[in-house]
């Protein structure tokens, strides 16, 4: 079982070291980073990912907070929405979006930049389930009601409560939701491909068809990024649970 998971990585890594004939080395990586298309698409994906995370947090945290505190009746509706990305595959969604937003009155796919905004909004929609689960778990772990009432009795308004009480208390949950979103958005192919966006996903697909050794280097880089995101989630999560245990034993 372990072999099944490790061999593809090993094989890819081995190929990625063979950029130069008969010598093992990092030639393929050097070529990859030197490619004029690599950095622009990489940075574009980075910006998309960060924008997605930012918007998603801004929408999900208040929603989850509100649902937990005030409107538990809405919970089934939210859970319904978190299942939608499973019901509507990405490839279906992207064409539906193009249909809806490609003609007046909602002409939003006319230019590259406006398409990019639509793309980011779709990523926000796709990230919703992951973000909501993380935030919801985080909210369950803290006593939202008491915190809110304490803040209110000290004269805080809703914005202050959200940004100065709830957000800081959810640090770990927010970070794991954010990194999960990051891992999904950074290499996303389907939606970006049909929206004709020059992000990392389509770039990688292109690379696979046109080059020999660089794709393996690219795959290793992508794997390292995913691994880093997940590693941080785990690391921070463990730190938090240790912290919680310490406060428990006090």
């Amino acid at each position: 079982m372990t072999l099944y998971f490790l061999i593809p990585l090993g094989a890819t890594f081995y190929w990625s070291l063979r950029g130069k004939k008969d010598v093992l080395g990092f030639e393929a990586y050097r070529k990859l980073f030197a490619d004029t298309n690599f950095l622009p698409s990489f940075s574009q994906s980075m910006v998309n990912a960060v924008a997605t995370i930012f918007l998603s947090l801004l929408i999900v945290v208040p929603t989850a907070y509100w649902v937990t505190l005030r409107l538990p009746k809405l919970r089934p509706v939210i859970e319904f929405i978190t299942l939608l990305p499973f019901v509507i595959p990405a490839v279906v969604l992207v064409f539906a979006i193009i249909l809806l937003y490609s003609r007046p009155p909602l002409l939003l796919t006319a230019t590259y930049d406006s398409s990019r905004v639509v793309l980011i909004c779709m990523y926000v929609a796709l990230s919703f389930p992951y973000m909501f689960r993380s935030v919801d778990n985080g909210l369950r772990a803290i006593d939202v009601r008491t915190l809110t009432e304490a803040a209110q009795s000290l004269g805080a308004n809703w914005v202050t409560i959200l940004f100065r009480v709830i957000f800081p208390n959810l640090r770990v949950a927010l970070l794991s939701g954010a990194l999960l979103t990051f891992a999904i958005v950074i290499g996303e192919l389907t939606i970006a491909l049909y929206m004709a966006q020059h992000t990392l996903g389509p770039y990688m697909a292109d690379l696979t068809r046109s080059k020999v050794y660089e794709p393996s280097a690219m795959a290793i880089v992508a794997f390292a990024i995913t691994w880093a995101a997940m590693g941080i989630i785990d690391f921070v999560g463990r730190g938090a649970s240790r912290h919680a245990q310490m406060t428990d034993s006090d």
């Binding site: 593809p8 509507i88 595959p89 990405a90 969604l93 064409f95 290499g187 192919l189 049909y194 795959a219």
Partner: protein, 263 residues
């Protein structure tokens, strides 16, 4: 706004004929051989990887949750599952091309041993090959989602069963499995949906030419050769309806049953 609205438009446009006006023509074309075969292939791959990935993933999760292994082992398994479950798409396809593709490492190894995989009928770009690739993210997803349910099995249940003289087999057969069954089946449905809607991995692997419903949609709507958007929309709506049925009439009821025990 970005999920439901577009789907409604899609439903409407799938009913629109090539010269305008409302018609069921596009849906009638769903009965053609090409469409049926790609739906068939999609369902076959999704079912296979959901069941296989589900079973193997469950076994891994069971070994991990049973304890007795160093705690480090559990940590590595869960972190790696997190990585692998999100490692779909182009990089995954690339990794498998370098492993089992025509010049892949394993292919070369077999050749060295005197077996030519590709001459003996194997191909990465076939049902078997794609299944192997999909399992790479299906199994870890199963591990991640089923582990909380396994952890939710109460120690008291096992002790009660043992006190009543049950063998481990009887405990699993009459206590643990009935409690876990809704979670297991529910997660398998998520796996099914995961494979059913998967597009990026197959696209990167086969350049969009394989006989899958998701790839067919892409070809019909934005392809150069087969250009019939109406049919593409109808195929897309078909997928949405299949998944909606599975999620709302199978997954959600199962979910409700499993929550009963995990409180």
């Amino acid at each position: 706004m970005f999920l439901i609205g577009p789907t409604l438009i899609l439903a409407y446009r799938s009913l629109e004929g090539s010269e305008g006006g409302l018609t069921f023509d596009n849906y009638r074309q769903l009965a053609s051989d090409a469409v049926i075969s790609s739906y068939g292939m999609s369902i076959k791959i999704s079912l296979t990887t959901a069941i296989l990935g589900g079973l193997i993933g469950f076994l891994i999760a069971w070994v991990v949750s049973r304890g007795g292994l160093p705690p480090r082992f559990r940590l590595i398994t869960t972190t790696f599952s997190g990585v692998a479950a999100n490692f779909a798409g182009v990089p995954l396809a690339t990794a498998f091309v370098f492993t089992l593709g025509r010049v892949g490492l394993i292919t070369a190894l077999f050749k060295w041993l005197g077996v030519d995989l590709y001459k003996s009928g194997f191909s990465l770009y076939s049902f078997l090959g794609l299944t192997l690739v999909y399992l790479y993210f299906q199994m870890p997803l199963m591990v991640l989602t089923i582990l909380p349910a396994l952890d939710g099995l109460k120690r008291e249940w096992r002790e009660a069963a043992e006190n009543l003289g049950a063998t481990p087999f009887q405990y699993w057969r009459h206590v643990a499995l009935p409690v876990l069954m809704p979670s297991i089946l529910g997660t398998m449905i998520l796996l099914f949906g995961n494979a059913f809607g998967a597009h990026a991995t197959a696209y990167a692997l086969t350049g969009g030419l394989f006989d899958l419903a998701t790839l067919l949609i892409g070809r019909q709507i934005s392809g150069d050769v087969l250009h019939n958007p109406g049919l593409g929309y109808a195929v897309a709506m078909g997928m949405v309806l299949i998944m909606a049925f599975l999620i709302f009439f199978v997954y959600l009821p199962l979910q409700r049953r499993s929550e009963k025990w995990l409180k």
